[in-house]
């Protein structure tokens, strides 16, 4: 079978991210975005003058990519403001790789910055300002009045159903937080760096049953950027190129009450498509970066992407595969559970996957990593997007 035209057409050539153990980072969102782009371009050995495409999801103003390009003083010929929450960046990579493959753009920057922790401390909003919605939305009419805390309550309903159908336990979910924290102990920028036990997770306050506080992601400031170009051009740049081998998207609902099946996400679609384009399968993957807004998010991703059969995520994670030295190293920076989570975590999945494939993981490097998966989730298990990445050896 001939290669899919997307496979290996584009590469990620520059990355940057910023987070701090304090949970806060300095600067305004536009300043931080500019800093991330500067660093990611420098990482690639490119300059702003090379950039002809921008992708951004952050709705700071009325049209995010117009305002970004104006601030940067550039005139792109390709633009993307896809907003699916935390999976936006994986979708940006899919769109950018396709655009690059077709010659619609040559150098694309994808950027993200958010400061919910600082905003909250300044009393200027944090989550509240973001949650504001004008007019009559289906959520305000049919879900919000019933008192479900979001986002954790929506994930809790999915966990409740998974437990009912498959016998999954709180201890098994806690294992995900425990193994992710082991990685965070090796990341000096991680917000939470002390190891934890299953008992610690179960003893932490209940946020929305069956999810405890330590089943839930952080609220921190954070930012990042990635730069993509054609594989051909990538070979002449500063760092080893990381090829986009495949990408897929699948979204199933917006409100949790509309999720067709609470135990199967759009990852079953996005993962299937991404692996098919890559010509690879789950057993080929050396390291996974899985959106971990909550422990149940990881469990569902492992099943939907095919790392274990549907319903067997609980026993699968209980064996400890996700930890350093495990059979399926996952969330090697400490993830949204322990590293950083500014609200839309998907950018950090890409940055960490690229660093692992370049061998830049330092103490948390997965030896010999050639294939990585970055799997984003947006909304309340609503929008999934999977990117399969590989070293040049995988082409």
């Amino acid at each position: 079978m001939p290669d899919h035209p997307l496979r290996g057409a584009a590469a990620i050539v520059g990355v940057a991210d910023q987070a701090d153990a304090s949970g806060q980072i300095p600067g305004t969102v536009p300043q931080i975005e500019a800093r991330m782009i500067r660093e990611a371009l420098a990482d690639a050995g490119l300059t702003l003058a090379d950039v002809d495409g921008v992708a951004i999801n952050n709705p700071v103003g009325w049209a995010a990519s117009l305002e970004l390009a104006e601030r940067l003083g550039i005139t792109p010929r390709w633009t993307d403001t896809t907003q699916t929450g935390g999976s936006s960046f994986e979708i940006h990579v899919q769109h950018a790789a396709a655009a690059i493959a077709l010659g619609l753009a040559e150098v694309v920057v994808v950027v993200y910055a958010a400061t919910p922790r600082s905003d909250f401390k300044r009393g200027t909003g944090g989550w509240g300002s973001r949650a504001n919605t004008a007019g009559v939305t289906p959520n305000m009419e049919w879900e919000f009045p019933h008192g479900l805390r979001l986002p954790m309550g929506a994930y809790a309903l999915a966990a409740s159903r998974h437990m009912h159908e498959f016998g999954t336990t709180s201890e098994q979910l806690a294992e995900i937080a425990v193994q992710t924290r082991e990685w965070a102990t090796m990341n000096p920028r991680a917000r939470l760096q002390d190891p934890i036990t299953v008992d610690d997770v179960l003893a932490s306050p209940m946020e929305a049953s069956p999810l405890h506080k330590l089943d839930c992601c952080l609220v921190t400031d954070g930012a990042g950027a990635v730069v993509l170009t054609s594989m051909e051009r990538a070979r002449d740049l500063a760092r080893p190129p990381v090829a986009v081998l495949g990408a897929g998207v699948g979204h199933t609902h917006s409100m949790i009450s509309q999720m067709p099946d609470l135990t199967t996400t759009g990852g079953a679609i996005s993962g299937r498509d991404a692996f098919a384009i890559a010509g690879l399968g789950p057993t080929d993957v050396d390291v996974v970066e899985l959106y971990d807004s909550f422990t149940i998010t990881v469990l569902l991703a492992l099943e939907d992407l095919g790392f274990c059969p549907k319903g067997e995520g609980g026993p699968f994670v209980a064996d400890g595969p996700l930890r350093p030295g495990g059979a399926l190293p996952a969330n090697t920076n400490g993830g949204g559970l322990a590293y950083t989570h500014p609200g839309q975590y998907g950018m950090f999945l890409l940055v960490e996957a690229v660093r692992q494939l370049r061998g830049e993981g330092g103490p948390r490097q997965v030896p010999g990593a050639e294939v990585a998966v970055a799997h984003g989730s947006g909304g309340v298990l609503s929008a999934m997007a999977t990117v399969v990445l590989g070293t040049e050896a995988t082409l």
Partner: protein, 142 residues
């Protein structure tokens, strides 16, 4: 002397045009569902057209106020100050016998933590200040 803080009101849902017939029937504590007469099937939530065939031949019919808990989560903290005095409470997704799934708050007395997937529920009604009623779920058996 500290000023007495007014008790926060329970959040009153806005009413969309598509949802208006539901809220009107709720004034009489009557559960109704939008049916597509082309598909001869109900759907939830109301959006003014059928999400299966996109027909706008929608008719509102009385529905069976019975169902089963599909998923449950107990909220130790409220999502709105107006619910503070009733936390912890359970929020459930209910599969109604007519075949639609609805999010409801459980109004049954007793330990919300005891509510389980598979429990039988009946739709009840909580009065809203404007005369409408909000549907709730009362556990009737397990």
């Amino acid at each position: 002397m500290a000023a007495e803080r007014p008790r926060p009101e329970r959040f009153s849902p806005p009413q969309s045009d598509a949802g208006a017939p539901f809220w009107e029937a709720s004034r009489d504590r009557r559960l109704t569902l939008p049916w597509c007469t082309d598909c001869d099937a109900p759907h939830w939530y109301p959006r003014g057209f059928c999400p299966t065939c996109l027909s706008d031949a929608i008719e509102w019919r009385d529905a069976e106020p019975e169902g089963t808990v599909h998923a449950v989560s107990v909220q130790p903290k409220p999502n709105h100050p107006g619910l503070a005095d009733r936390a912890p409470y359970a929020v459930v997704l209910v599969d109604l016998v007519d075949g639609v799934r609805m999010m409801l708050q459980c109004s049954s007395a007793g330990d919300p933590g005891a509510i389980a997937v598979g429990d039988a529920v009946r739709v009840g009604w909580e009065a809203l200040p404007d005369g409408r009623h909000l549907p709730t779920a009362e556990v009737t058996g397990r």
